[in-house]
């Protein structure tokens, strides 16, 4: 299903925006460097900025169509917006902020207030003034406020960029819950690879106001990792796997990835769950043969698909069971191991450096899971 169709031209500061893309269910990340026009694009979809021409359709409703002279005002678009700076109304309590759409926008919420509050863990802060909230709490209230406006589409403009790392890690589980439990298509603007890797199903790459690439998140991020530019150590891939076993004594879970199995740390997982892993290229090593006596226990048989050298280093694309890993090693190691496309190797993953998140849960209703804090 197409949740959003965008084909517009317009101005954003210094350069032209000329963008066409579609977004379906799940999270679509608008990904690209700062100042590429991503935020302006979101404003145009929300109706707070006006494109010069083109068409925007969301959930079957035409929001903007220059050919027909259609330009719905923001309050008629049914689009939720989570701003980078939260923008909680400072004169209203958390509760009045959360219910703003109901009492000021006269939008009847189909989601229950209590459910959203529980989903975002805001039970204790309802009577607080926004000024007394932490940055993470503010962003959670902003997300709840947008959800309670009953949007057909949720826009998020770098909702984590004003937070430090600890706060980001506090919010990310909530975003993951919303993705799986709210069932609203989300358009998520970010320039952080790790956020996109963790949340996005689809990635639309924006550069200089234009779409330079788009597709499934795993494919786009893998391609990005091999492309020039960016920090090659931060490049990484997203893998999807299924939990086959858990070991509560060691707080680990065993994940089947293609023919291989890896064991990662994490609580709250159960056999049968589908999880998403983000593996940074800098955390993957390569061995010719399986090794014993290493602290790295995760060794996946794989085949070298591509080697890209840059100076002293090389980024190696490794294929296994239809998925791909990137490994960042020195050019010297690559030669010492005699790596070439087609070589059979073992990819070594450090368990502690892999990020893991649940991506599937029984849909239907916002059942608050155990606190992800």
């Amino acid at each position: 299903m197409t949740a959003l169709y965008v084909d517009i031209r317009g101005r954003a500061g210094r350069f032209e925006i000329e963008t066409a893309f579609q977004a379906g269910a799940g999270v679509t990340a608008l990904f690209g460097p700062s100042g590429a026009g991503k935020s302006t694009l979101l404003k145009m979809i929300a109706g707070t900025a006006r494109p010069q021409s083109g068409r925007i359709v969301a959930g079957g409703h035409t929001l903007f169509d220059s050919a027909r002279g259609t330009n719905l005002p923001p309050e008629k678009r049914g689009i939720g917006f989570v701003f980078q700076d939260a923008r909680l109304f400072p004169h209203l309590s958390v509760r009045r902020n959360l219910t703003y759409a109901r009492w000021a926008g006269r939008r009847p919420a189909s989601r229950g207030f209590d459910e959203v509050v529980a989903l975002l863990g805001l039970e204790d802060r309802l009577d607080a003034a926004p000024a007394t909230l932490s940055g993470g709490e503010r962003q959670r209230v902003a997300i709840g406020r947008a959800l309670l406006a009953d949007p057909a589409l949720l826009l998020m403009d770098e909702p984590l960029s004003s937070l430090d790392k600890a706060r980001r890690n506090e919010i990310l589980p909530y975003l993951e819950r919303i993705r799986t439990e709210a069932g609203i298509p989300i358009l998520y603007v970010s320039h952080e690879t790790s956020e996109v890797a963790r949340l996005a199903d689809t990635v639309v790459l924006i550069e200089n106001g234009r779409v330079s690439d788009s597709g499934p998140a795993a494919a786009i991020l893998a391609r990005l990792g091999l492309a020039a530019g960016g920090d090659p150590d931060e490049a990484g891939v997203i893998l999807e796997g299924r939990i086959t076993d858990v070991n509560p004594a060691y707080h680990t879970a065993v994940i089947a990835l293609g023919e291989g199995r890896i064991e990662l740390t994490g609580d709250g997982f159960a056999p049968g769950m589908t999880v998403r892993l983000r593996v940074r290229a800098g955390d993957v090593a390569i061995a010719n043969a399986p090794h014993d006596g290493l602290s790295i226990r995760n060794q996946l048989p794989a085949i070298v698909e591509e080697i890209r050298r840059d100076g002293a280093f090389a980024t190696v694309a490794l294929g296994f069971g239809g998925q791909q890993l990137l490994a960042r090693i020195t050019a010297k190691s690559a030669d010492a191991l005699g790596l070439q496309p087609g070589s059979r190797v073992h990819a070594l993953l450090k368990a502690v450096s892999v990020e893991m998140a649940r991506i599937e849960s029984p849909r239907g209703g916002l059942t608050p899971a155990s606190s992800p804090r």
Binding site: A46, G47, T48, P73, P74, E75, R77, I79, G80, F81, F83, D85, A86, R87, L88, F89, P90, H91, Y100, A101, A104, G105, R106, R107, A129, P130, A131, R138, R145, A146, A149
Partner: protein
């Protein structure tokens, strides 16, 4: 406090309240235009609004006399349309006070509107609020400290207005003789010093109360305040 003193204070209060109540909405509109909109002639509007502050009050009073006197074009308009006459009436004193207080009302409101993050309005629109609803639920409440500061300042000014009032509506006891005018009249008579001092004490007390009230209100409204 004698009966005449009480009636002087009540008249002054009536004049000042009427002036501020009538001036508040146009002052907010002008402040909003100056803070949020670009339009041709903005400089002229800005100058006109500030003019009563820098012009000799006598000149402003004379201008009012010409425009709003019983023969003046605006005076006749108001007389015909609403049956309101200003000449030598307390309504005229209120008009003079309102005009003189206008710049003091506009300035703090304009500053609070300019300081306000317009992103709040955008956020409210995406939550389903129309422009009008945004105004009443976001813009106005956030501008309230400025509105109150302006109202208190303007009220104090209106209470003490002298030059424009005496020029426009003269000094008629019981009709246009407000606090300042009464003090002035008493000081002109050889035996009026004691009575004048009592009024002066009242004037000082009122001014101090206005300042304390505005500080208190501004603080109350801003704590709980901005994120």
């Amino acid at each position: 406090m004698g009966e005449t003193e009480l009636s002087i204070i009540l008249l002054s209060a009536r004049v000042a309240f009427t002036a501020i109540l009538c001036a508040l909405v146009p002052a907010f509109a002008v402040a909003w235009l100056l803070a949020r909109r670009e339009f041709p002639g903005k400089g002229v509007v800005q100058a006109l609004v500030t003019l009563p502050l820098v012009l000799p009050p006598v000149v402003t009073g004379y201008g009012l006399l010409i425009l709003f006197g019983s023969k003046g074009p605006l005076g006749q308009l108001f007389e015909n349309l609403f049956g309101i006459s200003f000449a030598f009436r307390w309504t005229g004193a209120a008009l003079a006070a309102g005009v003189m207080a206008f710049p003091l009302l506009v300035r703090p409101i304009r500053l609070s509107l300019e300081a306000m993050d317009q992103g709040f309005g955008e956020a409210a629109r995406t939550l389903g609020a129309s422009r009008l609803t945004v105004f009443f639920t976001v813009t106005l409440p956030l501008a309230l400290p400025g509105v109150i500061a302006g109202a208190v300042l303007g009220f104090a000014k209106a209470l003490g207005e002298f030059g424009a009032t005496i020029t426009f509506v003269s000094n008629i006891p019981g009709e246009t003789q407000t606090l300042s005018l009464a003090i002035y009249a008493l000081l002109q008579s050889p035996s009026g010093d004691a009575a004048a001092l009592r009024l002066i004490a009242i004037a000082v007390a009122l001014a101090l109360a206005a300042i304390v009230a505005s500080e208190y209100l501004a603080r109350r409204l801003t704590t709980g305040g901005r994120a």
